[in-house]
Symmetry: C2
Subunit: 407 residues, 2 copies
């Protein structure tokens, strides 16, 4: 046993940071308050009522009529695993787009489920071209599904899905989309784009703490689940069982994370109150201002133009600047988190998120001003105030006003 | 799209129930308060500090020095899956004790991972006899592990583990224990009993909401993980990766449920402040009083004598009494949850939990008094007040005083 007494453990005092990384993003106080609701049993009629409301809200946010729409009891990656573990069987051929860490993660997770993966790779920072998916579909034998990341969190790329979905269906394959960093920030049109399986998280565009993975599965996807030759390898994520817990039968499967479901409910209520279109517009406006400001500082983006996510800017670290040092300064001077690069982008990009609650005009100003100060102090030639003026100008050209005067 | 407007979704108003089922149990206000702590990034140095403290606290509660001791980012069943998915490979022979729903769940989950399971079955309500495990180990070819449920939540049986662990090791197998309903209620002696892998939950003996699965793995178990011929089928639960996120390298794997980790931290702090021995004693005392009261009402237990869990009484529903009607009355008249029976015990037992925060003298009085009232009104011959007097007497004989006078 370690020699530690009860006194060694202090009361929690985590700082209230400005979260401008790739998620978690800041949480609305109403969501915090919802988490104080009394814990109920997982089969309590009152909790069952909350579950029903969550399903309705998720259908609104996913823009779908899919019956099987609910939060998986784990974080975003558990949603990914739920999609793959349920739809892939040993030997199934699948096509996966890989242009970043999260595409690569799908490959790894699918291979563990026995998939033979046809990878369609693109350079980090670029989209997956539909033509390349079409080629891979031709090369694959009876392709079971195509999986693509909608918002590649490692590169800031916004991947178009509609054309790829058409190609997948034409080849008789299911369309799977990773919407972990897109749901609640940009349009995710499950029914219109005919996405068969989609997974997301709670801590980015939705604005709750991390802990659940909203998912939705089309009838076609559920058919594939019901026609499996083998049981799903995962007991915990087996949709053939979970559908009867989240469905009208209310068959006990596992104990849902009650409090996180309260948080998700309240966060979704806020999303629906704002309205999806208004929310997407807000994300676009703040992104335009941020990107204008970053450009005014001479900073460049990792993602190709025309395919940049509004909720996540992957910014190239300028030559001679130490990535980690800047993030450390942001945290210690300004109590502000921005994300580091992953994999080949380690040390080479910062990831600035303006997601959900965090997509706010003041956050654009705060992060630009902080970067001006830090990069200037580190020797970059920064004309103080220019980034903020450029951001202001972006808001003006979007008809959103000049904001408060800076003098 | 469903036609629902933002106004259709009301503010959450779940009732504050007295939770006396098989979990979730009631949560201390300090734990609720901890969940209001600001959400941090999953790699934030301040959150990393909390992770380190949680590992220390869990080692105290699991009574272990195991380095790999942390909460899996899912509920209790995700802990089970983590143990099996990491320790089982295709074709491995394993021995599983089955005398209830949760033993059966292990079999199902392990077979999905490719295990050949030698089941050691016992009647529901009885323990698994070590002799029978010994026989199964002999019959198995190179048995990889033995898995047994420590607290069988479906029957209220308290399964002894030490002898089975010795047998497992003598046969060269790992010892796996399901402590979902035991941790924080009764002794779970990982190092002393040489348990190689153990999983639990947060919402029973620990006293936090559901959402995480504390687990611990011995060096021997981690050796098996590192020597796997194939990758763990689960990306989300792969210990070979997760150990580097929860370990000193802090390699990003997935986003931990930050808020639930705050809750777990505070709940564990409360456990350690009370002291494990005091906590076990409290559970035993309240169980003795409850069982004395139930016996005084003529109610019988499903679990064999000498092997009854203090934290969970599986009570046989008396002849002529409608199980569901009684639970419905308890909920509606007294705002009190008790659990229903599972599987073959459906309609045949109630499961009364006195777990963690919920193991309190007033809860014993509340549930006995409520049952006296309801069962009496349903036509059972109940001498009003006798159950409470018997409970009081049990406290007296434990040296805990007669309690408040009832007249």
């Amino acid at each position: 046993m370690e020699k530690v007494s009860a006194d060694s453990f202090a009361e929690l005092r985590p700082p209230a940071r400005i979260l401008l990384g790739p998620g978690p993003s800041n949480v609305h106080p109403r969501v915090m308050k919802a988490m104080l609701s009394p814990v109920l049993g997982h089969l309590d009629p009152d909790f069952v009522g909350v579950m029903e409301e969550i399903k309705k809200l998720l259908r609104i946010v996913f823009r779908t009529k899919n019956a099987i729409t609910f939060p998986v009891s784990g974080t975003g990656s558990a949603g990914m695993e739920a999609a793959l573990a349920n739809l892939v069987e040993d030997g199934d051929e699948i096509v996966v787009g890989v242009a970043g860490a999260f595409g690569a993660r799908i490959v790894d997770a699918a291979e563990r489920q026995g998939a033979r993966v046809h990878k369609v790779e693109a350079e980090w920072g670029r989209i997956i071209e539909p033509d390349r998916i079409a080629e891979a579909l031709k090369a694959a034998k009876k392709p079971k599904l195509v999986a693509v990341v909608h918002a590649e969190t490692s590169t800031g790329v916004h991947q178009p899905l509609e054309e790829i979905s058409r190609l997948a269906h034409r080849a008789g394959a299911l369309m799977v989309a990773d919407a972990v960093t897109s749901l609640g920030c940009v349009p995710v049109e499950i029914d219109k784009w005919e996405i068969d399986a989609c997974y997301s998280c709670t801590q980015k565009g939705i604005g709750a703490p991390p802990g659940l993975a909203p998912v939705t599965f089309s009838e076609r996807a559920m058919d594939a689940v019901h026609k499996r030759k083998s049981k799903c390898r995962s007991w915990y994520l087996d949709l053939a069982m979970i559908e009867h817990y989240w469905g009208p039968e209310r068959l006990y499967h596992h104990t849902a994370p009650i409090t996180m479901n309260y948080a998700l409910y309240e966060a979704l209520r806020i999303v629906v109150e704002e309205g999806l279109e208004a929310r997407w517009k807000r994300h676009r406006a703040n992104a335009a201002a941020l990107q204008a400001g970053l450009a005014a500082m001479g900073l460049e983006m990792a993602a190709e133009e025309g395919h940049r996510l509004p909720q996540l800017a992957a910014v190239l670290v300028p030559k001679g600047i130490n990535d980690a040092r800047v993030r450390d300064r942001l945290l210690k001077l300004f109590n502000m988190e921005v994300g580091a690069g992953l994999g080949p982008f380690k040390g080479k990009v910062w990831r600035i998120g303006l997601m959900g609650e965090g997509s706010r005009r003041e956050n654009v100003m705060l992060v630009l001003n902080a970067l001006e100060d830090i990069l200037g102090a580190m020797g970059m030639e920064i004309a103080r105030g220019r980034a903020l003026a450029a951001a202001d100008q972006a808001y003006v050209s979007l008809g959103l006003g000049a904001g408060e005067p800076r003098d």
